[in-house]
């Protein structure tokens, strides 16, 4: 997985959690549905943001093609 892919997935999951909370706050989404979305999205947010900052961003990304 590319570093940028991990960031996009992590931020999307965080965005879904925040959006679910906001939509539930203004009444466009039932609270239980917002909670369900947050429960599913939060682990994705945690893991993929960690994978993003864990990934190397220098020449290490070039695949090893042997000596």
């Amino acid at each position: 997985m590319k570093k940028q892919t991990a960031l996009i997935i992590g931020l999307s999951a965080g965005g879904i959690s925040v959006a679910a909370g906001l939509l539930a706050g203004v009444g466009y989404l039932p609270v239980w549905a917002a909670e369900l979305l947050a429960v599913v999205a939060f682990p994705v947010f945690v893991i993929f943001i960690a994978l993003w900052w864990n990934a190397k961003s220098g020449e290490e990304d070039i695949p090893f093609i042997g000596y």
Binding site: G21, P43, V46, W53, N54
Partner: protein
């Protein structure tokens, strides 16, 4: 929505740090700073991360997501005053997570931890007995109804003390460095967590922080009642410190002794429930 999860994760990690600090001070050691577990999560998230070749790849990764997800769900369940049976169900899923974590690993130590997690399933028995004892008084398994009952009749901690003691044992069974922490005992390295490192371990620590927060919060809600946030957090901290003292002065039990103690406590609670049934009709 996500703010609740972030707050509970932060407080849970801080509680883990306080737990380690109290254990260290009780044993005459300086101990790490209380924010050590927060630093641990950050440290693990920067460590090199991969999936061992001998591991079951899907399960190895999935248990981390499930560990965070189920305790996030449990937090919302408490906040919304849902059913106590659902909380019990989540506790059972956590057992599957512990088991799957060890079995998915290629390490024999991880598998030993998984087997021990099956043995320590006896820790679910006091929780089940607690649920039954609470129902005897409140005639409801809704957490909101239980909190409302206590506003009228006073805390269940006083009315149903044996049930509170059993729930206390349940939380103690899930604490790190405790007498019942046989699945992560040092003689089997880190037990079922042995091969989960880097980002996977950071994720597990987040899940465990949520678990500690939820179990302590559940104890306050079920046995003391609905209180303002600051007072709830203070009571959770006091319960945690008492648990830490128990962990500090109690050596880790052998797997068979943990089952014996948890079964005896359950037996005592069953006798209590039978007496309640006779007395209360």
């Amino acid at each position: 929505m996500i703010e609740y999860l972030l707050f509970a994760t932060f407080v849970g990690l801080l509680f883990h740090g306080i737990h380690r600090k109290v254990i260290a001070r009780a044993q005459g050691r300086p101990g790490p700073p209380i924010w050590q577990e927060i630093l641990h999560v950050l440290k693990f998230s920067f460590k090199e991360t991969w999936i061992p070749k001998t591991a079951s790849q899907t399960l190895f990764v999935a248990v981390v997501f499930v560990a965070i997800g189920i305790w996030g769900a449990a937090l919302y369940l408490l906040l919304s005053g849902g059913s106590l049976l659902l909380l019990f169900g989540i506790y059972l899923i956590h057992k599957i997570v512990e088991h799957g974590m060890g079995l998915s690993s290629g390490s024999p130590y991880g598998k030993f931890g998984a087997i021990r997690s099956v043995i320590s399933a006896a820790s679910e028995l006091p929780l089940l007995a607690t649920v039954v004892a609470i129902y005897f008084f409140t005639h409801s398994l809704s957490i909101a109804d239980i909190a409302a009952y206590q506003q009228v009749h006073g805390p269940l901690l006083v009315i149903a003390f044996p049930a509170a003691a059993a729930m206390y044992l349940v939380i103690l069974s899930k604490m790190h460095y405790g007498p019942f922490s046989i699945i992560e005992a040092k003689e089997i390295v880190s037990g079922n967590m042995t091969e989960h490192f880097g980002v996977w371990r950071a994720g597990l620590e987040v899940g465990y922080a949520l678990k500690t927060y939820v179990l302590l919060y559940a104890f306050v809600l079920l046995f003391i009642g609905q209180l303002p946030l600051a007072l709830t957090l203070l009571l959770m901290l006091l319960i945690l410190v008492s648990l830490s003292f128990v962990c500090a002065v109690t050596p880790m039990l052998s797997p068979y002794d943990t089952v014996t103690i948890q079964t005896l406590v359950t037996g005592a609670l069953v006798v209590y429930i039978i007496v309640l049934g006779v007395v209360m009709g």
